[in-house]
């Protein structure tokens, strides 16, 4: 007997949230046939077009055919389940006579009503992601040595979803709908509605952007590496660059898999009321638009700036077919990179000079740039200079996570940026800048403009060894006139959530003496092997002061920039 299966799958039309879901085949899903007593008599899976054909013993009774929301095959290792406590998959079922050969016709998992199609759509999006990844980087190592070839059978994922259930319930449920990924468990939680309602509330089972975004976090967790601290983000703000990277990656991978440069979140379905909750262009943005910035380097701190950079790396790179261009005070930049997903994946998956490199810490897009630039220089990858400038990225970790090491000679290499003030060489600087919403508190400090962050590694040479250390910030006004800035020194643990109890020690005195006097902040702490984040922060609660040049010293020895991608 044979039977093509189909289900209502797919999210609303991007330009019309009232557009009904379209029918798509249920691909590569498990099929189980049971007899009248409930015993399994046959197993199989649907084909790429959703069809299936099974040979069964002739019996006088009926068989029950179940297409289940799970797959364990060469395309997908995934289950869509109702809840972590019962782990029950969803089934699309029918019965067929066992007396003779027959067709069961087309089975449909609906997109409204019971919304069974929601379970199969989630499964289908995981499959879409795998198909894309296999096509793009299934043999990545043949192009870039050390790149991980993507294989859908290596890691299994469970997606939990229940119609009407809001996973925000796990956190006390503020009433806002929530989908999330649980790292370490390979579990997605997809929003099924609010308080039992699926028709007029926010749901995500047909929001493919959301489903694949969460799958992007699964990829980070299992194939790549993330240091994201989590936390609030609205996609239009300066963020901790680790969070900006992780969320920007998720926003990007959904666009890449769907082949559509938008991030789309809808609510409701045609049984109730519908609306577009979020619709963002991941290709281009105009001045004043969502997550737009003109400051070079600020893009490293912005979620959608990262998304757009990654999208520019894979979309056709000319203006006639989707490329974009913009002019800033430092020049005009044009998207001239294309089909570079394998460069992104290689930079993220390599265990040497890539995100999985043990030397990498506080992972942010700056490290991706360093890894990609190495591929460009050594293995024929494309030059990303233009798309970095276009999206206001610095191609390194200058503003966040720059590794520093003690240099006993007392002088950094000639390649280090050096400013001499009163006969003293300084290797770092910061210019205090007023920022909207900045009230001088740590909470509202502008992470890009008024902070600098450095990775202090404790380990073996060339890094400092474990033990008690004194970290010192020495700074001086750049032009020796006006008002000197007030810089403070913070030492964070590896979690390094800004302005939290992740601060191990701090020194935040007010400047003393005159504008020409050198200033010092100092902390002492016992450090074991690992990574620590040094934060030099401008106190903006008083007079801002002018540009300050500064040095960092560990036990009196100057700390210099260190290239971890050599």
């Amino acid at each position: 007997m044979g039977a093509p299966g189909s289900a209502g799958l797919g999210s609303a039309n991007p330009s019309d949230p009232t557009h009904p879901a379209s029918a798509n085949p249920i691909r590569y899903a498990e099929i189980v046939v049971t007899n009248g007593s409930g015993s399994t008599v046959q197993c199989g899976e649907t084909a790429a077009d959703g069809s299936f054909s099974l040979s069964l013993p002739q019996i006088s009774g009926a068989y029950k055919i179940s297409i289940n929301s799970r797959a364990l095959n060469s395309h997908l290792h995934a289950s869509v389940l109702n809840s972590p406590d019962s782990n029950t998959f969803y089934s699309l079922t029918t019965t067929v006579s066992g007396a003779s050969s027959s067709s069961v016709g087309t089975l449909t998992a609906p997109a409204n009503g019971t919304i069974l199609g929601g379970a199969f759509n989630i499964l289908d999006q995981l499959l879409n992601a795998n198909i894309y990844l296999v096509a793009q980087v299934g043999s990545c190592a043949s192009t870039f040595s050390g790149c991980l070839n993507y294989d859908p059978t290596v890691h299994k994922i469970a997606a939990y979803w229940k119609p009407g259930f809001n996973p925000n319930t796990y956190f006390g449920d503020s009433g806002d709908g929530l989908s999330f990924y649980l790292p370490g468990y390979s579990r997605l939680f997809i929003l099924g509605g609010i308080d039992g309602d699926t028709n007029s509330s926010d749901t995500d089972h047909f929001d493919n952007s959301i489903i694949i975004h969460e799958y992007g976090h699964f990829l980070e967790d299992n194939w790549l590496k993330s240091d994201s601290p989590g936390g609030m983000h609205d996609g239009n703000e300066i963020l901790d660059p680790r969070l900006a990277w992780s969320e920007g990656w998720g926003d990007f991978i959904q666009a890449a898999v769907r082949g559509d440069g938008h991030y789309i979140d809808t609510m409701g379905n045609t049984d109730g009321s519908t609306e577009m909750l979020f619709y963002v262009d991941t290709e281009s943005v105009s001045n004043g638009g969502f997550d737009y910035t003109t400051n070079l380097g600020e893009g490293n701190f912005r979620e959608f700036s990262i998304t757009r950079l990654l999208w520019d790396a894979i979309d056709p790179g000319d203006n006639s077919t989707g490329g974009d261009s913009d002019t800033f005070t430092d020049g005009t930049y044009t998207d001239n990179v294309n089909t570079a997903f394998n460069e992104i994946w290689a930079s993220l998956s390599k265990s040497s000079r890539g995100y999985r490199d043990a030397l990498f810490a506080f992972r942010n897009v700056g490290l991706l740039h360093l890894a990609q630039e190495w591929l460009h220089t050594n293995q024929g990858a494309q030059d990303w200079t233009q798309i970095r400038g276009l999206n206001r990225h610095l191609g390194d970790t200058t503003r966040y996570g720059q590794t520093v090491v003690p240099v006993s000679s007392g002088a950094c290499s000639s390649s280090a940026t050096t400013t001499t003030v009163a006969s003293t060489a300084y290797y770092f600087n910061v210019t205090p800048t007023s920022s909207p919403g900045d009230d001088g508190s740590l909470t509202n400090s502008n992470l890009f403009l008024n902070n600098r962050f450095y990775d202090l590694k404790i380990g073996s040479t060339p890094f400092a060894s474990a033990g008690s250390h004194t970290l010192t910030l020495e700074y001086r006004d750049d032009d020796q006139s006006g008002t000197i800035a007030d810089l403070d020194l913070y030492l964070y643990n590896k979690n390094a959530r800004f302005g939290t109890s992740d601060i191990l020690s701090d020194s935040r005195q007010t400047p003393s003496g005159t504008v020409t006097d050198p200033q010092t902040e100092s902390v002492s702490y016992s450090l074991s092997n690992g990574d620590y984040l040094i934060n030099v922060s401008v106190f903006t609660g008083g007079t801002l002061g002018g540009k300050a040049d500064f040095n960092l010293k560990l036990d009196g020895v100057v700390l210099c920039p260190y290239d971890i991608v050599q």
Partner: protein, 197 residues
């Protein structure tokens, strides 16, 4: 307990949760003790403010646009069929908007006494939430779900938000969710549990 009422309550009650609050003990901050002297120093500490609290489970909120909608009941909750009550929606935004449109969805079992089912709020500013209200009459003893959704656009970005209010059991649901959110446990949770959205 009416069937619909009980089914929703059961829905919430049956949520057996398999993960929990991370109570990983973060190291206590070793802030330098405040230096005695200067008033300026004390003032600086005050301006810098307290450290932010790290959530027990570090997780982000779902990506949202600047517009948000919240519903509340103004005055007493309806006790019986025929009671009239007022639902108020608050539209707030993090960025100034030229306008925001809103639409109420009222299910069978409720009758509109006063107010508009849809409309537009002109010039919604970041620091000035707007309110829209509906006066409704209960025609059934069962709980009913009232929805309000609002939408707007800005620089080629479209966004919106929605909110739901249960006429008879919102307080009960809210308290149950709060209890669930604080009581969930995952026996084999990792010590450094983090959640990403």
């Amino acid at each position: 307990m009416p069937l619909r009422y009980s089914s929703v309550a059961l829905f919430i009650s049956l949520v057996a949760i398999a993960f929990a609050a991370s109570r990983a003990s973060d190291e206590e901050p070793a802030m330098n003790s405040r230096r005695p002297a200067a008033i300026a120093m004390i003032k600086k500490e005050q301006i810098l403010g307290p450290l932010q609290v790290i959530p027990e489970i570090a997780h982000t909120e779902k990506l949202r646009g600047p517009l948000s909608v919240k519903l509340e009941m103004v005055g007493p909750r309806p006790q019986q069929v025929g009671d009239v009550f007022v639902i108020r929606g608050t539209l707030a935004t993090r960025r100034d908007l030229n306008s925001a449109s809103f639409t109420w969805t009222i299910p069978p079992g409720l009758e509109i006494v006063n107010g508009e089912l849809s409309g537009t709020v002109q010039t919604l500013n970041a620091d000035q939430p707007a309110h829209v209200e509906l006066t409704l009459r209960k025609l059934t003893a069962e709980n009913r779900q009232v929805h309000l959704m609002a939408s707007s656009s800005l620089n080629n970005m479209r966004f919106g938000d929605s909110s739901l209010y249960n006429t008879d059991m919102q307080d009960l649901l809210t308290s149950k969710k709060a209890i669930l959110g604080g009581a969930v446990e995952m026996p084999d949770k990792p010590a450094d549990l983090k959640i990403f959205h």
